[in-house]
Symmetry: C2
């Protein structure tokens, strides 16, 4: 049995061979298996890391502790991430940006309300699923200058940029009135971030009882139509 | 020279007598002076406390250190605040609630846009003036369970309640359409809190360059009219 090209251990640990067949080619099934395993392993590292970051704080967290938590050899982690900073940023990137990209890539049926609603529902769901990462972003991340700057520039501002692009597109299509997108995109972000802050950081029970759909419906209505009664 | 009724020290420290005249009555000028001095002293304690909280963290901060920072006798602090928790809550109450009450108490000229604008301008100005307290509310306050709960219930939810009341009044007057105020009031809060988070916690330079008026004008327009182009 050959050695897998990920960690040199998985042939044993997972009970099947991930080796490339002789000649360096692998068949389609083997490739899918390998990719699936890689994604699973990556996810396990991210989850273990968040647990360790939340327990020990970012400064005291070590790759060794993350490896132990994920039940993976320490050296294996480095095959996925060069440093603990990269682990944390990957975690936020996956939570904040990847799903936003998926939603933005879906064919849009010209319905900006449905689009905004799916962005909001997704944001709120992900916040709830990743409560530890959300709390960490408010309470601890700000204290690590370089990390904070990278997080803000590469993830928070990226997210903001996508929203600004959407707003500009809608204005160009004649759907939205001209907006100061650097303000309106942030206000839109604020309209879902506040629910994460209230529920996860401050334990607001009234927010916890609302479904993502209830919040999204009301926020979309407000964002599109405003609070004034139409005459 | 009689003893002042605040601290027993000020006759000496401030170089003029705050004593009540014989007979226990004081004239108007003396009363105003005493009240002004009390307010000034209280403010000095709040500012010193925030400095100490930010430097040492809430748990390690002591009344003794706050007194030293404010250049006031330790015993004097207790004439104003029973505990350090009360100091911190008074600080947020003054920053968040008192000015909101002032704005809400002003005669409203039936113009909800002007009212919302003055709330927003005031919030953003106060955040900037009290950057340390804002950072503390995101990063450290969440870790002190009892304090966090008191802060959230007595200050954050109070603020939310005032906004909900305003929304309901406007709906009753036929100005606003029916709104789920528990969601819309939070969304409104989010639309200014996000600017404090971005600028003060994450150092967002683009936000720092915006004036409170610019932010408020665009957010009010969005809140009242929404983003859709009118047809």
């Amino acid at each position: 049995m050959g050695l897998c090209d990920l960690c040199g251990l998985c042939g044993k640990r997972f009970g099947f061979s991930l080796a490339k067949p002789p000649g360096g080619k692998e068949n389609g099934v083997a490739r899918l298996r390998r990719e699936g395993l890689r994604a699973e392993r990556r996810q396990a590292i991210l989850e273990a890391a968040m647990k360790v970051f939340a327990q020990r704080g970012y400064a005291a967290a070590t790759i060794r502790a993350i490896a132990r938590e994920a039940n993976i050899a320490q050296g294996t982690i480095y095959l996925y991430f060069p440093s603990k900073r990269d682990i944390l940023l990957a975690l936020y990137r996956s939570m904040i940006l990847e799903s936003l990209e998926e939603i933005m890539a879906r064919p849009r049926k010209g319905d900006e309300a449905a689009f905004l609603r799916s962005v909001l529902v997704d944001r709120i769901r992900r916040f709830r699923e990743n409560a530890r990462a959300v709390r960490f972003a408010f309470t601890e991340l700000p204290f690590h200058k370089e990390l904070r700057e990278k997080f803000y520039r590469e993830i928070a501002l990226e997210q903001l940029g996508r929203i600004q692009t959407f707003l500009r597109e809608q204005t160009a299509r004649g759907k939205f009135r001209p907006l100061r997108t650097e303000i309106v995109a942030r206000a839109f972000q604020g309209m879902y971030v506040i629910f994460a802050l209230a529920e996860i950081v401050y334990g607001d029970g009234e927010v916890a009882r609302l479904t993502p759909e209830e919040i999204a419906d009301e926020v979309v209505r407000l964002f599109l139509h405003g609070a004034l009664k139409k005459r």
